[in-house]
């Protein structure tokens, strides 16, 4: 696995002054109080540029999931601000946050991404159905064909393999053309082949469809699909790697903490 999957990264030409799809300023998240006080995020500044695939890596407890949750409006920050586009999430109440997640954010979780009672197609269009919007059929067809799910649309999740389920989840995340897609260990439960399918699809969505994707992972192989890797440790961004390869990422992780990097190699 030495080929570098990111080889043909096109720069978002001519959009240099454009606002990033999401950014964090002085993001701080503190859990607990007193003796049990844990600083999960320690005043992080971060930009996620439009049309790029960013991976967030770091050892367990580094704060990578918390960063994603705060950026995605799933969790509140203790200090600082998270922006999706121009919207400051801390200024939104639960209702507006819900609408924002529905309309501007796509999610892919590690597991339990799908509602067991709905078919694959219904799961894909769920956020739009909730909003009471008709999906853009042409776009939907593109998404469905890209993930290669057309023959499976009428199936329920229990009739799909783990890889197919994750592809349905990806299709759902993309179907609404969100501002940004957050993926939390999307391949954590998959065998390497299914995982490669899903990652390839995420990368394709960035490069072919201009989607913005942020992925949390501890797998260097997965990070190798990204355009950029952010390394977190103790709640801070400690390093950044552009045009990563799995090997480089693995090297970097080893330097970090031998224990975690060992866990990252399959």
């Amino acid at each position: 696995m030495s080929s570098s999957p990111h080889a043909a990264t096109p720069e978002p030409a001519g959009e240099a002054p454009a606002l990033p799809a999401a950014r964090g300023r002085g993001l701080t998240k503190v859990f607990g109080e007193g003796d049990t006080r844990v600083v999960a995020l320690d005043s992080i500044d971060v930009d996620f540029e439009r049309g790029r695939f960013t991976a967030i890596m770091g050892p367990s407890g580094s704060g990578k999931s918390t960063l994603m949750h705060c950026m995605a409006g799933l969790d509140s920050v203790s200090e600082g601000s998270a922006f999706i586009g121009e919207t400051d999430l801390s200024s939104l109440d639960d209702k507006k946050l819900t609408v924002l997640r529905r309309d501007q954010v796509g999610f892919v979780f590690q597991a339990f991404n799908l509602l067991p009672t709905l078919t694959a197609l219904e799961n894909i269009t769920l956020p739009m159905d909730i909003a009471g919007r008709k999906p853009d059929q042409a776009w939907l067809d593109v998404v469905i064909d890209t993930v290669g799910l057309r023959p499976r649309l009428a199936h329920r999740p229990s009739e799909l393999s783990g890889g197919q389920q994750q592809r349905v989840a990806c299709a759902r995340a993309l179907a609404g053309r969100p501002e940004i897609v957050f993926a939390d260990e999307p391949t954590g439960n998959l065998d390497s082949r299914s995982g490669a399918d899903v990652l390839g699809f995420l990368r394709q969505s960035v490069h072919d469809m201009g989607q913005t994707v942020v992925m949390v992972t501890h797998d260097p192989l997965a990070a190798g699909y990204a355009d950029r890797v952010l390394f977190l440790a103790d709640g801070r961004i400690v390093d950044e790697m552009l045009a990563p390869t799995a090997d480089r990422v693995l090297e970097r992780m080893k330097a970090f903490d031998p224990e975690t990097s060992a866990a990252g190699t399959h």
């Binding site: 819900t98 997640r101 709905l118 956020p127 909730i130």
Partner: protein, 847 residues
Amino acid sequence: MWRTTWRNLLAHKVRLLLSGLAIVLGVAFVGGTLIFTDTLSKTFNDLFTSTSADVNVARAAAFEQGLDGTGAGGATSYVPAGVVDEIADVEGVAAVEGYVQAEGVYILDRDGDVLDTGGAPGLGINWNTEPSVSPNTLVDGRAPEGPGEVAIDTNAAEETGYQIGDTIPLLTPGPRIEAELVGTFRFGDSGGLAGATLTAFDTGTAQELLTEPGQFSGIGVAAAAGVDDDELAARVAAAIGDDYDVKTAQEQADSLASDFGEALSFFNVFLLVFAGVALFVGGFIIVNTFSMLVAQRTRELALLRALGASRAQVTRSVLAEALAMGVVGSTVGLAAGYGIAAGLRALFGSFGLTLDGSLVFALDTVLWCYAIGIVVTVVAAYVPARRAARTPPVAAMRDDVVTSERGLRRRTVLGTVLTVLGAAALVGGTLTDDGGNAASLVGLGALLLILGATALSPVLARPFLRVVGGVLPRVWGTTGRLARENAVRNPRRTAATASALMIGLALVSAFSVIGASTNKSVDALITGSVRSQFVVSSAVGLPFSPDVAAAVSGTDGVEDVTQMRFGQVQLDGDTSFVTGIDPAGLGRSIDLTFVDGSAEGLSGDGLVVDEGTAESHGWSVGDPVQALSVDGRERELTVGGIFESNQVVGSTLVSLDTHAALGGTDQDRFLYVDLAGGTSPDEVRPALEEALAPYPVVDLKDQGEFRDEQKGQVDQLLLLINAMLVLSVIIAALGIVNTLAMSVIERTREIGLLRAVGLGRGQLRRMVRLEAVAISIYGAVLGLVLGTLFGVALSRALSEEGISELAVPVGRMAIFLLVAALIGVLAAVGPARRAAKLKVLDAIARA
């Protein structure tokens, strides 16, 4: 293992509370019923034992007459005063005194209304001066002496607020009178009269008003010290001859108590049936709760198995939980039952049926409550416990909660068989002629159908919710679709939850159909057979003085008054209720359809009976019938006519003269008032009302009002039954709460996901709410369909008993459906709030 059980119990407090509540309600109802009926029995027993002197003498009855004071009694027979002297000479008699006792004495309150007795009699008595033969003890004032003075029981005094010295109006079997209140007295030890009122006159006045001068209703004898009651009774009997019935206090109380016992046991059964329904429904919820508890804990139980716990240990652990819940639930239920009994007592008190003394809390009650509560819970938990034990240890490793979606084939087969059998019994019931058998067949059919529907309902749930639930996505979009899918995803659970509601609503709607049919029949009956413009009677059929009839017929514009009286005689050896009626009134006031003979056949010594009676005795027109009165008078009657069954007049009619000749009292029960030609009811009404003003025990009703009054009684009974059934509906609602609460817990991750991808809190709440409504509508529809079938079948089966018409109250059914939907909405409040409160991240983090 025991520690795990204990920890589990404590870990799921809310769940525990909800399923515990089902047990509590069921047990509370059983306990309340038992306590209340025990209290009722004790009140009556006290009444009888304290009523009687050591030895009681009455005129020997020619046959067992049943209960006095139930409106059925009729013939009176007296004991002449001379017998008192004869008994006084018997050796061992310490005291002897004649007593007078008769129905039809009503105390009027300050507004001139009859003091409400709740259907119990208003009794008039003479004041016995000898305390050893009298059950009454003077509390205040003095004994009545001479006409114009009365004493009343303390309950009546309290309710009317009359003070000693007040002049109080009284209705007697004869004239309306006014008398000075000179004393109040307590009846028996406790004063409890079960609603009856007592008015005491001095002996002379009492005889004048209630019997005849020199005649007593009976004689009370007190035994001298050291003389055995039985011995004394034998001596008295020897002294006065065969014409009299001599009973010891014990014999008297026993015979009265056994008469009342029958009436009470019916009441007891009636209440216990509802308790049974409540427990049955409660059982569903307990089964459901434990199934869900076990399903949720599959992983935990599998882990226990993996760690080496045996199947038996897992089963025991779950059963031990059930046992603990059963014990706690029964204890709380017992306490709540005490409250229910107290409530029932207060309710009866407000109807005038005062039960004094404390509630009877028998050991039996305690034992039954625990037995029922614990057995139902443990049995209900057994199946889930077995299933839990079969949890394969690998389930612990698996990520998904194992929801065993076993085939429904066995249920389908069982349910179909039960349903077919039930339907057959139901149809058989409607085709059977004999009313009693028909009703039993319908009852059996109903039970089988309920069981069949319960078995089949998981099978039916999917298609029903797919089709009927199709409305949900159309109206509420994705939320509606999610709700529907959630409702069908576990058809067993949905069905079990809905079944509880189904049973309650099946019964409620069955009774509604019967009630509506009865009302329609009453309408048809009265419209078809009553010709009179007005009816005069008391609402509960109390007897009243013939003075009323005289007052009515003396009113301008009134052409005729037909009096109707009731009595009991033996006809060809069978004790029968007979109606005494003015022969001229038949055909004029009341129209009967004669199959043979005619209304003229009633005059003289004529006897007119309905078809059923004629058939069962083998009588035809012209046949002689031997009549025997309670006081032993014999008379030969001739069957003069046979008519189509008609509840307005009863089954057996004699003329007023025959009625009197057979010892019937001269107390009327109904008056049918015919107006002179050319006068309108509106014109005559004011005069009639004025004529009746002194007799508040009766009401003047035109035909419409009479119909409404009769129907009102049906409605009241219906209301009472529905009030009882509300309990099972409450339990069913709790079941829905329980199911939803568990579902929300089970679906935490899904809820988290839905929230993450943009489902608002409001939408989430609506989703839970719609699921609840879907479940409750499903149960309600099943229940309404079954109930309508039961109601129609039972109405048809009872067509011989007077339910001639059939009516299905569609409007009321629609209301039931709405109420069911509302129950769903209410049941969802808590679970929906809980679901909406889940933090998105926490919910997802469970993954």
